[in-house]
C-alpha cells in the first residue's frame, strides 16, 4: 500500500504561494518607474535637469511643473527623475560595499571554527559601538566630504549589521538537521558548504540587500543634506533637499518632493523584500 494514496491532499503548497498583494504590485510598479528614470530619464522628464529659467523661479506645483520649480526656475519633477540614477547608484553601491564586507566578516565567523566565531563577534561588537551615522562621519572626517566618500562611508557603517545577520544565518544553517544529515551521509565539508549552506544563505542575503538599498539611500541623502555628500547643483535627492532647506518657509515643494521620492523608494524596496521572504514561505 502506498502512503501517497492514503493521504494525497496536502494543501500547504497552495497556501504558501498566495497571489501577490496590492501593495506588492504597487511597489513593483514604482520600481519599474524608477528603472525607467534610471535608464531613460528623458522619456518621463519633461525638462532637462539643469534647464534654468530664472523667470519661472519658485513656481508652486502646477500642470506645467508638477513638483514646482526651484530658485533657478528648474523643474523639480525633472530633476527628481534625472537624480534617480545618482541616488540609486549611491544607495546600491553603498549596499554592495556594506554587504560585501558583511559577507566577508559573516562568512569568516559563520563558517570558521569557534575561535573565529568569537573573534568576529568581538569585532562586530566594537563596530556596533559606532552607531548609525557615526562611523560614516568618521570616514568623512578622514577622507573629506563628497559623494564617493559618502557612499563608502554609508557602506562601511552598514557592514556590521549585515555581518551579524549573515553570521547568525550561517551558524543556524550549519547546526540544522539537514547539514547533520549530510555529514552522516559522509559528504565532505566543502560539498556541504557548496550544496547546502551557501545556497540556503543566499535567499535571505538577497532579501537583506533589497531591504538595505532603501536605508542606504536614506543615509546617503542624510549626508548630502548635511553638506557632506553630493553637493547642491547636482540633481541628487539628498543634495536637492539640502538646497531646498534654505527656502523651506517659502517653497516647501523644493524639500517635500525629493524627500517623498526617498520615502517611496524605501517603502517599495521594503515591501518587495518582504514579498520575497513570504513567497519563500518563511518556514524552514
Amino acid at each position: 500500500m502506498s502512503e501517497l494514496e492514503v493521504r494525497s491532499t496536502v494543501t500547504v503548497e497552495a497556501a504558501a504561494r498566495p497571489l501577490p498583494r496590492v501593495g506588492t504590485v504597487l511597489a513593483g510598479l514604482f520600481v519599474v518607474f524608477l528603472a525607467v528614470a534610471v535608464i531613460w530619464p528623458g522619456l518621463i522628464a519633461p525638462y532637462g535637469p539643469d534647464a534654468i529659467a530664472p523667470r519661472d523661479a519658485f513656481q508652486p506645483p502646477s500642470a506645467a511643473h508638477w513638483f514646482g520649480t526651484d530658485e533657478s526656475g528648474r523643474d523639480i519633477y525633472s530633476r527628481v527623475i534625472w537624480g534617480t540614477a545618482t541616488s540609486l547608484l549611491i544607495g546600491v553601491t553603498a549596499t554592495a560595499i556594506g554587504l560585501s564586507l558583511g559577507l566577508l566578516l559573516g562568512a569568516i565567523g559563520g563558517l570558521g571554527g569557534r575561535a573565529l566565531d568569537f573573534a568576529v563577534g568581538r569585532v562586530n561588537e566594537v563596530l556596533f559601538a559606532f552607531p548609525g551615522l557615526l562611523l560614516a562621519l568618521l570616514v568623512i572626517v578622514l577622507y573629506g566630504p563628497g559623494p564617493v566618500t559618502a557612499t563608502i562611508a554609508v557602506g562601511l557603517s552598514t557592514a556590521p549589521g549585515y555581518a551579524r545577520i549573515i553570521q547568525g544565518e550561517l551558524r543556524g544553517i550549519r547546526s540544522s538537521g539537514f547539514v547533520e544529515a549530510a555529514r552522516v551521509l559522509g559528504h565532505s565539508p566543502s560539498r556541504i558548504i557548496r550544496r547546502h549552506i551557501l545556497p540556503n544563505a543566499l535567499a535571505p542575503i538577497a532579501v537583506l540587500a533589497t531591504l538595505g538599498v532603501g536605508q542606504a539611500i536614506v543615509w546617503a541623502s542624510a549626508l548630502s543634506y548635511l553638506g557632506l555628500g553630493a553637493q547642491p547643483p547636482a540633481p541628487e535627492w539628498g543634495a536637492m533637499l539640502s538646497a531646498g532647506r534654505t527656502y523651506i518657509t517659502t517653497a516647501w515643494w523644493m524639500t517635500v518632493f525629493p524627500g517623498l521620492m526617498i520615502v517611496l523608494t524605501t517603502i517599495a524596496t521594503t515591501v518587495l523584500g518582504r514579498a520575497i521572504t513570504s513567497r519563500r514561505g518563511g518556514v524552514r
Binding site: L4, R7, F178, L185, G186, H196, P199
Partner: protein, 545 residues
C-alpha cells in the same frame, strides 16, 4: 466507570455539530453531524488521526474555532448553557466557568513569562473579581488538590522552572480553577514522558471521580482506554464508530477503529505487523531466537560525554557500554533528557566522546580522524525525529535522494528507493513540506537506504507521528530489516514501541544504562526499579492490560 444510566443533567449536549472552513463557495467541512453527550462524572473520548477534526471540535465547544470557521449545530449546550446563538461576550463568560481546557505540554500551554500563580489565578480574576489574597489562597488550594509538592514554593515560579510533571499539574489546576462542570483535554499527554503521562491521566481520573465531565481527545487509543467510558472514533470529520470503551476496543467494527486498535504496539509481539492489511502473512516473521552468537557490528565502550552550559557541566552520557549484533535491533529507551540522543550522536560520530570508544565492525570508529571516517560513513545511516528538518528546504524528494545516491544515480534508482519505502513514484517531484509526517519519515528512510548501510540509527523516528502512521512506519522498518539484514539502533521514549521493535533493550536514566538485556526478559521480569515504574506507567489497551 458508570455507564450513563444516572439521570444527571448532561454537562455537554451537542447535536448535529458541523464545522467548516473557508469563504464563499469554497467551504470545506471538517466536522459533520457530530452528536456528543457527556454526563457529570463521565469521560467520553474522541479518537482519530490528525486531520480527522478532533481538535476543531474541541475548539468549537469553546467558541474558539477561529474567525474563518463556521460552526452550526441543532443543539449546543456546554456546561449547562445553550450556546447556539451566543456571542463573544457569552462565550467569554462560559470559558473557565462552564468549561475548562487542558492542552498538551504545559511548557508551551502556560505563559512562560508569568508565574503559575498568576496563570491559575487568571480565571478567578476574570470571572470572580476575587481580592488578591483570597485568589492566592484559592490557588494554593488548587495546587494542593492537583498534588503539587510544596505549593507555596511553586506558586511564584514559572512553567519553565518546574519539572515536567509539576508544570502539567499546574496546567490542570488552571483549567479546574473555577471547578467547571466540563473539562476538555486535547491531546493532554502527547509528547510527554510515560511517567508524566500516567500522572496526568490519574489527575483527570480524579477530576472525573469528583463529578467533572471530561471530553478527552487523542490519537492514541491506549491513552484513551485508561480513562474513557465511551469512545467516539472520528475519521475525516465523520463519526465512524461509537460505543462503550471495552466494546470498541475488543470488537471494533469499522476499519478505522480496527487500524487504531492494531496500531497500539505495546502488546504486539516482535515481528508481527501493526497494520491490518497484511496480518495474514504475519506469521512470516523472523526466527524469534537466534541461539548462535552473532557478529557485533557496532559497539560502544565506556562512553562518557559532558556538556557545559553557562559554566555548569552536566554529564549527558555516563559510562555507557553496549553492542549491536548483525541483523538485530537494540532498543534504547529512556525519558527526555536521559542522554539517548547524545548516544545516537556518539554512535554516528557526529559528536566525539570525552572518554571511551565506539567501534564499527570491530575496528576504530569514533577515534578515527573525520577524513578517514568519511569513506566509511555509508555503512551507517540515520533517521531522525524531525524528518522535515533533516531535508534541505529547497530540495525536492528526487534531489534529496539523488544527493544521497551519488552523482551516477539514475531516475530508476530513485523510483526503486521510493518503492522500497512504499511511496509512489510521483512522490519524487514533491517537496517534503507538502508531504505528511509519515511520508516524510519514509523519504528519510529511503535516503538512509540509498547508501546501502548495514546499520540504521533511528532517533525517535515515530514520536512525532500518530499511532496509525507510526504503525505503518514501524512495520516498514521491520520489513526492511528482514529483507536487508539491517542492524537497528532504535531509540525512543515510548516503551511500547521499543518493546515491539527490539531484540535487546537498554534502559537509560540520567545518562546511565540502568538495565540491559534481552527484550522479553527486561519487559517481563524487570530488575531495576526504574524499569518497573516505566513499564507500570506505559499506556496499554485497558481490555488487554
Amino acid at each position: 466507570m458508570t455507564d450513563v444510566a444516572a439521570p444527571r443533567d448532561p454537562v455537554l449536549d451537542v447535536r448535529g455539530l458541523e464545522v467548516s472552513f473557508g469563504t464563499g463557495r469554497v467551504r470545506r467541512a471538517v466536522v459533520q453531524g457530530l452528536d456528543l453527550r457527556i454526563a457529570a462524572g463521565q469521560c467520553v473520548a474522541i479518537v482519530g488521526e490528525s486531520g480527522s477534526g478532533k481538535s476543531v471540535t474541541a475548539r468549537s465547544l469553546l467558541g474558539l474555532a477561529g474567525a474563518d470557521a463556521a460552526v452550526r449545530a441543532d443543539r449546543l449546550d456546554v456546561g449547562g448553557t445553550g450556546m447556539l446563538r451566543a456571542g463573544e461576550r457569552e462565550w467569554r463568560r462560559l470559558r473557565g466557568v462552564g468549561v475548562g481546557l487542558v492542552l498538551q505540554d504545559a511548557l508551551v500551554s502556560l505563559d512562560p513569562l508569568r508565574t503559575i500563580g498568576r496563570e491559575i489565578g487568571d480565571a478567578l480574576r476574570l470571572h470572580r473579581r476575587m481580592p488578591a489574597a483570597a485568589a492566592r489562597a484559592r490557588v494554593l488550594e488548587l495546587l494542593e488538590l492537583v498534588g503539587m509538592p510544596d505549593p507555596a514554593g511553586a506558586i511564584d515560579r514559572r512553567s519553565g522552572e518546574l519539572s515536567g510533571g509539576m508544570r502539567q499539574r499546574a496546567l490542570i489546576a488552571s483549567a479546574i480553577a473555577l471547578d467547571p462542570p466540563l473539562l476538555i483535554a486535547d491531546e493532554p499527554t502527547t509528547a510527554l514522558d510515560v511517567g508524566v503521562q500516567a500522572r496526568v491521566l490519574a489527575l483527570l481520573a480524579e477530576a472525573r471521580d469528583r463529578g467533572t465531565g471530561i471530553l478527552l481527545i487523542s490519537h492514541d487509543l491506549a491513552v484513551v482506554s485508561a480513562l474513557a467510558d465511551r469512545i467516539i472514533v472520528l475519521d475525516d470529520g465523520l463519526v465512524v464508530e461509537e460505543g462503550p470503551t471495552t466494546e470498541v476496543i475488543t470488537s471494533p467494527r469499522h476499519p478505522t477503529t480496527r487500524a487504531l486498535v492494531a496500531a497500539v504496539p505495546t502488546e504486539v509481539p516482535r515481528g508481527h505487523p501493526l497494520t491490518l492489511v497484511d496480518r495474514s502473512n504475519a506469521l512470516v516473521s523472523r526466527p524469534v531466537t537466534a541461539s548462535a552468537p552473532r557478529e557485533i557490528v557496532l559497539e560502544g565502550r565506556a562512553l562518557t560525554k559532558t556538556f557545559t552550559t553557562r559554566g555548569t557541566p552536566t554529564l549527558a552520557v555516563d559510562d555507557v557500554s553496549f553492542s549491536l549484533e548483525r541483523g538485530r535491533t537494540l532498543g534504547l529507551v529512556g525519558e527526555s533528557g536521559s542522554g539517548k540522543t547524545t548516544v545516537a550522536r556518539l554512535m554516528l560520530a557526529i559528536a566525539a566522546p570525552d572518554s571511551g570508544e565506539v567501534l564499527l565492525g570491530g575496528s576504530a570508529w569514533s577515534s578515527l580522524p573525520e577524513r578517514e571516517r568519511r569513506p566509511l560513513r555509508p555503512r551507517i545511516g540515520a533517521i531522525y525525529q524531525d524528518a522535515l528538518g533533516s531535508f534541505d528546504p529547497r530540495w525536492t524528494v528526487e534531489r534529496i535522494l539523488r544527493d544521497a545516491l551519488g552523482p551516477a544515480a539514475t531516475g530508476t534508482e530513485v523510483v526503486d528507493l521510493l518503492e522500497q519505502v512504499r511511496l509512489a513514484p510521483d512522490a519524487a517531484a514533491r517537496h517534503p513540506l507538502t508531504l505528511s509526517g509519515g511520508q516524510r519519515q519514509r523519504v528519510s528512510i529511503a535516503r538512509a537506504l540509498a547508501e546501502a548501510p548495514e546499520i540504521l540509527v533511528c532517533d525517535e523516528p515515530v514520536s512525532a507521528l500518530d499511532t496509525t502512521v507510526q504503525a505503518r512506519v514501524l512495520d516498514l522498518l521491520d520489513e526492511l530489516q528482514r529483507e536487508r539484514g539491517l542492524s537497528l539502533l532504535f531509540i525512543s521514549h515510548d516503551l511500547g514501541v521499543v518493546r515491539h521493535m527490539s531484540d535487546t533493550v537498554a534502559v537509560m536514566r540520567h545518562g546511565r544504562i540502568v538495565e540491559h538485556g534481552d527484550a522479553e526478559s527486561v519487559f517481563t521480569d524487570p530488575q531495576h526499579e526504574y524499569t518497573r515504574s516505566l513499564i507500570a506507567d506505559a499506556p496499554r489497551l485497558r481490555s488487554l492490560g
